[in-house]
């Protein structure tokens, strides 16, 4: 396997990990918002 091929695989892996981390942050933010919405609706 050439060095070039290895670099391409690593770039793909890093891009995917960055995407997963970004989504995870977004999900936890949305979970907090959803919890706030549920609390508000149960208070009403």
């Amino acid at each position: 396997m050439s060095m070039m091929e290895r670099i391409i695989y690593w770039i793909a892996i890093i891009v995917l990990i960055a995407g997963i981390v970004g989504l995870k942050v977004q999900i936890s933010h949305l979970e907090q918002q959803a919890q706030t919405v549920q609390t508000q609706s149960s208070e009403e």
């Binding site: 396997m1 091929e5 290895r6 695989y9 793909a12 892996i13 995917l16 990990i17 995407g19 997963i20 989504l23 995870k24 977004q26 999900i27 949305l30 979970e31 918002q33 959803a34 919405v37 609706s41």
Partner: protein, 167 residues
């Protein structure tokens, strides 16, 4: 290491990461459905020049098309609606004007506008769209905050090349 084995290992890692990414993406979409969009958020969205109602975003109005009660301040779609909104009364295609049904795209990011933001109507409607949010407070809340930004006529399909109901 054998190049073939190395390649399989890399592809395996990429495959697992891709599956994780897709499942997180699905979870995000599901969570977004639970969080209603506020009137101010929708207003800001409509003011954004990159958001084109009918092209990359749609507003679905699930109130009745024509209100029978003349004293009703909120009324139906024809009485007043958010610019660019598509009528789909009770989320039932048979109650909507045929030209409106043609312009509904289930894959576009969608905001559902009901009379008062009723979550039950939203749940019924949300099944039909991929990316969907409920307008918190519905048309009542919109009229409280932005009663100057409404259209008062029958549904008119967007003209070809037009951007829909951009403010």
């Amino acid at each position: 290491m054998n190049p073939k084995v190395e390649r399989i290992i890399y592809l395996g890692i990429i495959g697992v990461l891709a599956i994780l990414l897709v499942s997180f993406g699905k979870k995000e979409v599901e969570l977004q459905k639970e969080i209603p969009i506020t009137v101010d958020q929708l207003y800001a969205k409509l003011q954004n020049p990159s958001v084109k109602v009918g092209k990359n975003f749609q507003i679905i109005d699930v109130r009745e098309y024509e209100s029978e009660d003349e004293d009703d301040e909120i009324g139906g779609y024809v009485d007043q609606h958010i610019p660019g909104a598509i009528p789909l009364p009770d989320c039932d295609e048979s109650k909507a004007p045929p030209e409106a049904v043609e312009h509904i795209n289930p894959y576009l990011p969608t905001v559902i506008v009901s009379r008062d933001g009723n979550p039950e109507i939203f749940k019924k409607c949300a099944k039909k769209f991929t990316l969907v949010q409920n307008l918190k407070g519905g048309m009542e809340a919109w009229l409280e905050e932005h009663d100057e930004i409404v259209e008062e006529d029958e549904y008119e399909p967007p003209k070809a090349g037009g951007g829909g109901g951009c403010l």
